[in-house]
């Protein structure tokens, strides 16, 4: 048995790692997994960078930010494995929700919910000279941050100018909403469900609805570690692939909730975790649960595949919101972090079909579709629509950046266009 030190953050989407540990998938591939629960993304990042951890359950943008050198530690980090799709939600305080309903009742009845009623509330506050509403995300380099900004910007709300944005650790989100320190947040499960259960918040829109089947967490390792431990890394990917297949089955989801309930993993009641895992989500304390069977996708739709185009979309968000201020070759940067080549090796070992392509367009499939696997098989895919009808073409990167009037890039757009021509 080879020891492997893995760090996780207590969230429902660490499920494939938990299942690989608790149901013997790591052991079957000769790995003695030693898992530690970390208190913050910064601590997880520092420990991975310093070699106190071998692998980490990370927000998909984190290894990209580390490799591009825009987070404090700048250690080249890669991923060959996506830990799943979707899994987040934007939750608003009940008070804000009532104001939105009063401002524009029709808009609050629509699903997926646009932020147009929210814009009316913001305009009203501005007229009355009230301080701006405050929203929280879990980390600056997170899909949560980009999803919230995308949702706001689509309704003409400038996330930099019209609202306040703060970083709050997931376990403190509900408390912050309750004490009115913030008016809404975007976070992974089970924290939105907890806000709903306590009656302090209401789920406005889920990540699944903002961008169907979009990337969320990854298994990150340092690039030099991956070079020195090729076999161990590959064995870990094999175990996680098998664990993801098991985790994804509807009939296993109740047991997944049970596994995650332990203090070793998320440390929340199984009944709270079961909602999103079984695809029945209560959006409000007084409302009926809605059926969202794709709320968490762990294997189907090539969910574990590290799409270079997903990474490219994330790099574009860093450019759009000024986190990345220098021009880069976006696909090049994406491909230096996301490693489908390593994924395909491990997938072949365990007989899982991997996509033949490294990139795909987004926002063009409203229903099921299929694509070719590297082994000649056909892979069933799910919808990939953005809620506002937006599209993303990895071959026309800069066009998708300059399309929206709401953006705060700090990069020289001419130089960016030159590098991505």
């Amino acid at each position: 048995m080879t020891p492997l030190r893995i760090g996780i953050i207590p969230l429902t989407d660490c499920a494939p790692i938990a299942v690989a540990c608790e149901r013997g998938f790591f052991r079957r591939h000769g790995i003695d997994a030693r898992v530690t629960r970390e208190a913050s993304w910064a601590s997880l990042r520092d420990k991975l960078a310093a070699g106190a951890l071998d692998a980490a359950h990370m927000l998909a943008p984190m290894p990209i930010a580390a490799t591009l050198g825009i987070d404090p530690l700048a250690v080249p980090t890669i991923t060959a494995f996506s830990l799943g799709l979707n899994g987040n939600a934007i939750t608003l305080s009940e008070e804000l929700w009532s104001r939105m309903r009063a401002a524009d009742g029709d808009a609050t009845a629509a699903r997926p919910l646009p932020a147009t009623a929210l814009r009316r509330v913001i305009e009203d506050d501005r007229r009355r000279g009230r301080p701006p509403l405050r929203f929280a995300v879990v980390y600056p380099f997170s899909s949560h941050d980009y999803e919230l900004r995308y949702w706001l910007a689509a309704a003409g709300i400038d996330p930099e100018a019209d609202v306040g944005l703060a970083v709050v650790p997931p376990p403190r989100m509900v408390e912050c909403l309750e004490s009115r320190t913030i008016d809404g947040f975007c976070v992974g499960e089970p924290w939105s469900s907890l806000a709903v259960r306590r009656g302090v918040g209401r789920i406005a829109i889920t990540k699944l609805e903002i961008w169907s089947n979009s990337p969320e967490k990854v298994l990150a390792v340092r690039r030099d570690w991956a070079d020195r431990h090729r076999e161990l890394h590959r064995a870990a990917l094999r175990a996680l692939l098998e664990a993801a297949v098991w985790t994804d089955r509807a009939e296993n989801r109740a047991e997944v909730a049970h596994v995650l309930a332990s203090e070793r993993w998320v440390g929340a009641p199984a009944s709270l975790l079961a909602g999103s895992l079984t695809g029945r989500i209560a959006l409000a304390q007084d409302g009926e649960a809605v059926e969202l069977p794709d709320f968490h996708v762990f294997h189907r739709y090539a969910a574990t595949f590290p799409w270079v185009s997903h990474a490219a979309w994330l790099v574009l968000q860093m450019l759009r919101w000024g986190q990345l201020a220098r021009p880069v070759d976006v696909l090049d940067a994406a491909a230096s972090v996301y490693r489908p080549d390593l994924y395909r090796e491990a997938a072949r070992d365990v007989g899982v079909s991997a996509p033949a392509a490294d990139v795909k367009t987004e926002g063009t499939h409203a229903g099921p579709w299929s694509l070719a696997g590297a082994d000649g098989a056909t892979i069933a895919m799910g919808p990939d629509l953005f809620f506002d009808g937006g599209t993303f073409d990895p071959r026309a990167l800069v066009a998708s950046l300059t399309r929206s009037p709401i953006a705060s890039p700090r990069v020289d757009l001419g130089a960016l266009a030159a590098l991505n021509a």
Partner: protein
């Protein structure tokens, strides 16, 4: 300012800091309005437990207040584990305060602040080095365009770019970007 979920430990640390001649302006732990408090208090140094979830909030604030960053000193209770120590030291302006002995607090703070200043300098140097790399890439592209469109050799293309830059008293990279942008318009 001390950020710690455990009041007893914050108390010990606070006493040690006072003994070393520092003034503790605030002790906060596990509160929702942490960011607000930091803005109000404007501490010179923030001291936080490495295992505290509020680290992400503090780090984000230092990103926002890039003009006036404030050193953050991290401590861990367990200083016996080398890899944990390395992780703490890897964090920005961090240092280990294992065991929290009064006599160790002052030198640790001084080292942390020195490391913080070093890091700020390093970050500025790195940013300069990076932009010059990107600039070289753009100049290469512009040279390539001139070579292809005007049939120049590499040397002539470079001289042409340099002359344009000198004539207009702008930097080579600026001219190169314009050449590249103009070529985009034509294609």
């Amino acid at each position: 300012m001390i950020v710690d979920d455990r009041p007893e430990r914050a108390e010990i640390l606070s006493a040690a800091l006072a003994h070393a001649g520092y003034t503790v302006v605030a002790r906060v732990g596990g509160r929702a309005d942490l960011a607000q408090r930091v803005f109000e208090i404007q501490p010179d140094v923030i001291i936080v437990d490495m295992e505290c979830p509020d680290r992400d909030t503090l780090e984000d604030m230092s990103r926002i207040t890039r003009d006036r960053p404030c050193p953050t000193v991290m401590f861990v209770d367990r200083s016996d584990d080398d890899s944990i120590r390395a992780a703490v030291q890897a964090g920005v302006s961090a240092y280990v305060v294992g065991g929290l002995h009064a006599e160790r607090v002052k030198p640790v703070l001084e080292v942390a602040i020195a490391r913080f200043n070093e890091f700020q300098t390093l970050r500025r140097e790195l940013a300069t080095a990076r932009s010059s790399l990107e600039e070289r890439k753009v100049v290469e592209r512009a040279k390539g365009i001139l070579m292809k469109r005007r049939g120049m050799d590499e040397e002539a293309a470079f001289r042409a770019l340099r002359k344009m830059a000198m004539d207009r008293k702008v930097r080579l990279a600026t001219i190169a970007r314009e050449v590249v942008a103009a070529s985009e318009l034509l294609t």
